[in-house]
């Protein structure tokens, strides 16, 4: 049938062409799973990274809230100690504006002695009235 339609030379070219036309898709079929598997692997890596980033950001938030909580605890401890040992000074402290109270607490945290802190409280109280 083929011999009848095409002369011999043309037929061999046709066979060659059809071989090439079969070979190219076959190669693509062979290569595509490799490319596909690499893409899938990259997607999995990306997903793992995203999960890790979410976890890290959640951990950071947790650490942040822990440090806030621990700062609150220290502030309460400082005020309790001041009230127990120096009730008068503590009364003046309670009358200070929130900003000044915060400054006093920070001063204590930075290593100021209790006498220095008491002096600061009195200074702040006297200058705020």
């Amino acid at each position: 049938m083929l011999r009848r339609i095409f002369p011999k030379k043309a037929r061999s070219r046709t066979v060659g062409l059809s071989f090439v036309s079969l070979l190219v898709p076959a190669c693509l079929l062979l290569v595509s799973p490799i490319l596909h598997s690499e893409d899938a692997y990259l997607d999995a890596l990306r997903l793992e990274e995203e999960r890790l980033n979410d976890k890290e950001s959640a951990d950071r938030d947790e650490v942040k809230s822990e440090s806030v909580a621990s700062s609150d605890d220290q502030r309460a401890k400082f005020e309790n100690e001041l009230e127990a040992s120096y009730r008068g000074t503590f009364l003046f402290y309670t009358k200070l504006p929130a900003k000044s109270q915060e400054e006093v607490f920070r001063e204590r945290q930075q290593g100021a002695s209790i006498d220095e802190v008491r002096k600061t409280i009195m200074n702040r109280y006297l200058h705020s009235h």
Partner: protein, 208 residues
């Protein structure tokens, strides 16, 4: 770290970094590298060898590599992970060549640049005299593969996230397929996971 070697120094991005273990005996690993399991596939445990003729090395061999070949420039420590992983922290002295860069077909012209960077040279016909000398054992045989001469190419140590990571084995396979000689490739299978587990120093690369 090992007997008689409490620390070593390596150069990372122009700075000298001291590598040592975290000395706190109560320190516990947290985060990604403390995880025991990941979805498999794709994060399955990999065999000891990345390829038949490629040597697998551990931490002690890596320390030795760092103190010799990495220091004198005859070796390269390759973090084969994708850049986002690398940027989270790496082994001091490592450079980032993501495994995807080694996934190119062997005939891709980009290999030329990669091979030149790693010290390979275009292969040349040794000539009659050289061939005769080689035949008599008076001259060492050139380590040639295809169009490339790898005789003076660098030894490459590749690593990724650890034994369940496929990125460095993938890179090794790509290098082999392109003609890089197996005897110049080394697989640090423990990767970041074992490095972190031993509490060894890591560095966060400077952002570009």
């Amino acid at each position: 770290m090992t007997k008689g070697k409490p620390y070593i120094h390596v150069v990372h991005e122009g700075r000298s970094i001291r590598i040592e273990r975290i000395q706190d005996p109560e320190f516990e690993l947290k985060g990604y590298f403390a995880k025991t399991a990941r979805k498999c596939p794709p994060f399955c445990i990999h065999p000891m060898k990345a390829a038949p003729d490629v040597e697998t090395i551990g931490e002690v061999e890596l320390f030795e590599f760092m103190e010799t070949q990495l220091r004198d420039g005859t070796g390269v420590l390759i973090d084969a992970r994708t850049p986002t992983w690398y940027k989270k922290g790496t082994i001091p002295g490592a450079v980032n060549y993501p495994f995807t860069e080694f996934s190119l077909p062997p005939e891709d012209p980009a290999w030329e640049e990669i091979f030149v960077k790693f010290g390979a040279k275009p292969a040349q016909d040794p000539g009659l005299i050289e061939k005769a000398m080689q035949g008599m054992g008076l001259s060492g045989e050139r380590l040639q593969s295809g169009k490339w001469d790898f005789s003076n190419a660098k030894n490459l140590v590749l690593f990724c996230n650890g034994p369940a990571c496929g990125q460095s084995p993938h890179a090794i396979k790509g290098l082999l397929a392109a003609g890089y000689p197996a005897q110049k490739l080394f697989y640090f299978r423990g990767g970041m996971q074992m490095w972190e587990l031993w509490g060894l120093t890591t560095v966060v690369p400077a952002s570009e």
